[in-house]
């Protein structure tokens, strides 16, 4: 046994989040760690990687007990963690990041050549064309992820902990990552793999451990386990029908939002679309195809060089998100930590921030604010198990619900949702899908930007697909399937796409 955890407990204040959890990692296995948001996965792996100390219980590596006081001590033992939020120094180059804190030296000077060579080797192994000299700031999120992984493999890693590594990767990059994981496994590295994507886990995991509410629910071999069984173990109840039925759309449903000939410099070359009342319009395409830029230009968050927006058939000028709010259009950003929530602000203020006007006459009425917050907690099932005072202390799923509560506070008629389920557990996903359904049943219209095919196919009435800044087509009915969407997303089918962009 390479690494084992015995009866780990951890409390924050009076609040216990881990209860007697055991975990065993063997040489050369991929071990999946499953659980809903807030189940204690992150706490558990932070203890293993030396970021947190257990309240009680022990961690055993190579048969002897370890008391890591820092992540550095764990790394010296070969236990390395790749964070869900990338932890790279943006202004430094790739190679500088890879060797950050353990620079190779010749005498007192840095041995740049050796570091570059070793970085290049590591990146080659990952089959990525990232230049070791490139500045991390200029890389895409997925490339940054590759740098994180390269950083881990240049250390003599024996236990690699990956927290949601595929959350921001494209399908292609995911298969590269899996091939790499396979090679690491053959080298005898134990991989502890946290993901909410059960399909991935089915594909690569040898064994699985499931946590629920801080307790170990099940641990054992993957063989003979189905996705459905795992989902049930995680949530503790049967999840039937992941996707709710689509709202019936009358043939004369009016168009509530229309964009014509949108052009956003450097991002969108040509895009028009319509959204009808009660409809879910999906937006598919690979990361960087211009979907977010298009939507943000419609909302007035970005400048556009051409194009017109119509609301209920009337041309409207949206120069600022406030204008969109006045038009009862709500936007749920994909970056809930960077753009969605004020992390160091209390929860109540976060929920009311978008529609603070409603609580002012003219001074802020804190009692009514509190009432609105309590209603939001009930309506969106925000679980405050961790006595959180600020948004930063909530789990990912609860943050997403908090953001949803904030956005819905303006009682919108059009809701634009960008990547609503990134890094979110099955149970919360299910809730969000049904919430979208409730919205359309109530006469709202929804635009859903998603990189998850299943979501687009399961929820949308129509799917608009973008490729390299061009809206290549809008798929309907039978056309909405994985194969068709990929064809349009890669520019093989549909409107002309500039050759050099993807050539």
């Amino acid at each position: 046994m390479l690494l084992s955890a015995r009866k780990l407990c951890r409390s924050f204040g009076e609040n216990q989040v881990l209860f007697d959890v055991d975990l065993d990692l063997q040489v050369g296995e991929v071990h999946a760690l499953l659980g809903e948001n807030g189940a204690g996965k992150s706490t558990l792996v932070k203890i293993l990687a030396g970021y947190l100390r257990p309240t009680s219980g022990e961690v055993v590596v190579d048969g002897s007990q370890r008391h890591y006081r820092s992540s550095g001590e764990a790394e010296a033992d070969g236990v390395v963690m790749i964070h869900q939020e990338l932890a790279l120094a943006e202004q430094l180059s790739v190679e500088e990041n890879i060797f950050l804190g353990r620079e190779l030296r010749r005498g007192v000077f840095l041995d740049r050549r050796a570091m570059r060579e070793r970085s290049r080797t590591a990146l080659l192994e990952l089959e990525t064309d990232v230049d070791p000299r490139a500045r991390v700031k200029d890389l895409s999120t997925s490339d940054q992820q590759m740098v994180e992984i390269a950083k881990a493999i240049t250390r003599d890693v024996r236990v690699l902990i990956m927290d949601e590594p595929t959350a921001t990767l494209t399908e292609n990059e995911v298969s590269v990552l899996f091939a790499l994981i396979d090679r690491l496994r053959q080298r005898g590295v134990a991989i502890l793999y946290i993901s909410h994507k059960l399909r991935e886990i089915e594909q690569i995991a040898d064994r699985v451990t499931v946590l629920r509410d801080g307790h170990l629910v099940d641990s054992g071999s993957m063989t003979g386990r189905s996705k459905e069984e795992l989902a049930r173990l995680m949530v503790g109840r049967e999840i039937t029908e992941m996707y709710p039925p689509r709202t019936h759309l009358p043939s004369d449903a009016p168009v509530v939002l229309e964009a014509r000939g949108m052009v956003v410099p450097g991002a969108v070359k040509q895009a028009s679309f319509t959204l009808r009342q009660g409809e879910v319009l999906g937006f598919g395409g690979i990361v960087g195809a211009g979907r977010t830029a298009l939507i943000e230009a419609v909302l007035g968050l970005r400048g556009k060089s051409a194009g017109q927006v119509l609301r209920n058939g009337q041309p409207v000028v949206l120069r600022h998100l406030r204008d969109a709010v006045h038009q009862r259009i709500a936007y749920l950003t994909e970056d809930r930590k960077g753009k969605g929530l004020v992390l160091n602000m209390d929860l109540r203020s976060n929920v009311t921030l978008l529609n603070l006007r409603a609580h002012c006459h003219p001074l802020i009425d804190r009692r009514r604010e509190e009432q609105a917050f309590q209603q939001a907690i009930q309506r969106f099932d925000i679980r405050l198990r961790t006595a959180a005072r600020t948004a930063a202390e909530l789990s990912g799923g609860n943050q997403q619900k908090l953001l949803l509560a904030k956005v819905m506070s303006i009682a919108p008629e059009v809701v634009i949702i960008n990547e609503p389920t990134r890094g979110i557990d099955v149970g919360t996903k299910h809730q969000i899908y049904h919430f979208i359904h409730e919205l359309t049943e109530a006469g709202c219209s929804v635009i859903l930007i998603s990189s998850e095919m299943g979501e687009l196919i399961g929820l949308s009435h129509r799917v608009a697909v973008m490729c390299a800044g061009v809206l290549t087509g809008v798929l309907e009915g039978e056309q909405i399937n994985e194969h068709e969407i990929m064809q349009y997303a890669s520019g093989i089918k549909g409107a002309e796409v500039d050759e050099q962009r993807h050539g």
Partner: protein, 345 residues
């Protein structure tokens, strides 16, 4: 619409009750400045019982009013993630223009209330405009506040030196007699500057904690992107904080001018740093997102109190005022930052 989302109501309620139990510990973050003020005052009494004398206290509070009023404005700027280094020079410039204007109006209106009111009006207008310029250049020009206000600081400082022709601008003696009570007068036993200080503090408190403007300052200072995505007019709010700062500087100048009746290139030197120090001692974070008006008030009083206590004792030289202030600033911030709070999960 709530059926699906609320399918877990019971556990939710029980869990939510746990939150209310929290917050019993009086944290030093909130009360630290007040505790420090009390400690300092006790020290003052021990050193010299005259410290508690009404005259001394009144004098001390009156002196702290200038920096205090400016610091309240600075609390908004800093909370919203900005910085204004130009306040000291701005005060000198406004004082200079006020004096020139009032002196020239004596011929027309005589040395009466009208002349003083014109001076006061001009001061407020100038403060507002100066703040507007700082705000617009920072937000529309997308230049760091540090650089913009460093620039305007130099500009205002040199303008007042130019207006005074390198010397001192002196207020007309007749006007001075009428204007005098603004600094030396008192109402209900409390001097006018202290009343103004109190008024500005109360307005500032309400503005920061009970209006949209204040809440938006917190949001912008915490994360500008989030503020933008919350449909907040970020540039507008930020510019408004600088304008508010300008008005505060103007108010401080209005009560400062009758004190000496003059302005020169040396007026208001280092006020910007004292104001920032008062804000920081009060528990506002220099990087923004967290501000406290009462803390700032306490900070400003503390800074004056240190000088006052040194005046009352022979143990430490008066020349070491800056040293003691410096130590207190660093210790105050250290106490606030030290990990009193439990680590977050």
């Amino acid at each position: 619409m709530s059926s699906v989302m609320a399918n877990n109501k019971t556990t939710n309620k029980a869990a939510n009750q746990m939150i209310k139990q929290k917050g019993f510990a009086i944290d030093l973050k909130t009360w630290g400045p007040f505790v420090a003020l009390v400690v300092l005052a006790l020290l003052g009494v021990l050193i010299n019982p005259a410290f508690l004398g009404l005259d001394n206290l009144s004098n001390m509070l009156t002196r702290s009013a200038f920096i205090g009023i400016i610091a309240i404005g600075a609390t908004f700027v800093i909370t919203a993630g900005g910085l204004d280094l130009s306040v000291g020079a701005m005060a000198a410039f406004i004082a200079g223009v006020m004096i020139i204007l009032m002196n020239s109006l004596v011929e027309q209106f005589g040395a009466g209330l009208t002349t003083v009111l014109f001076g006061v009006g001009a001061s407020l207008l100038l403060g507002l405009c100066a703040g507007f310029i700082n705000g617009m250049v920072t937000t529309k020009g997308k230049i760091e506040a540090f650089i913009v206000t460093l620039g305007t600081m130099g500009i205002y400082r040199s303008l007042v030196t130019y207006l005074a022709d390198g010397g001192t601008l002196t207020l007309d003696w007749a006007v001075r007699d009428i204007y005098r009570p603004m600094y030396y007068g008192s109402f209900l036993g409390i001097t006018i500057p202290v009343w103004v200080f109190l008024f500005v503090a109360i307005v500032g408190y309400i503005l920061l904690n009970y209006t949209r403007f204040g809440r938006y300052c917190f949001a912008i200072g915490s994360n500008e992107k989030v503020a933008e995505y919350s449909a907040i007019h970020v540039d507008r709010i930020k510019t408004m904080t600088y304008m508010l700062q300008g008005v505060c500087v103007a108010l401080a100048t209005i009560i400062y001018v009758p004190r000496l009746g003059s302005a020169s290139g040396a007026t208001g030197v280092l006020w910007e740093l004292e104001a920032i120090a008062a804000v920081i001692i009060g528990g506002t974070m220099l990087k923004g997102g967290h501000g406290r008006i009462w803390g700032t008030v306490v900070g400003a009083i503390m800074l004056t109190m240190i000088g006052n206590i040194l005046n009352l004792t022979d143990a430490i030289s008066n020349y070491l005022n800056g040293t003691v202030q410096g130590i207190i600033i660093i210790v105050a911030v250290y106490l606030q930052r030290a990990s009193w709070r439990k680590a977050a999960p």
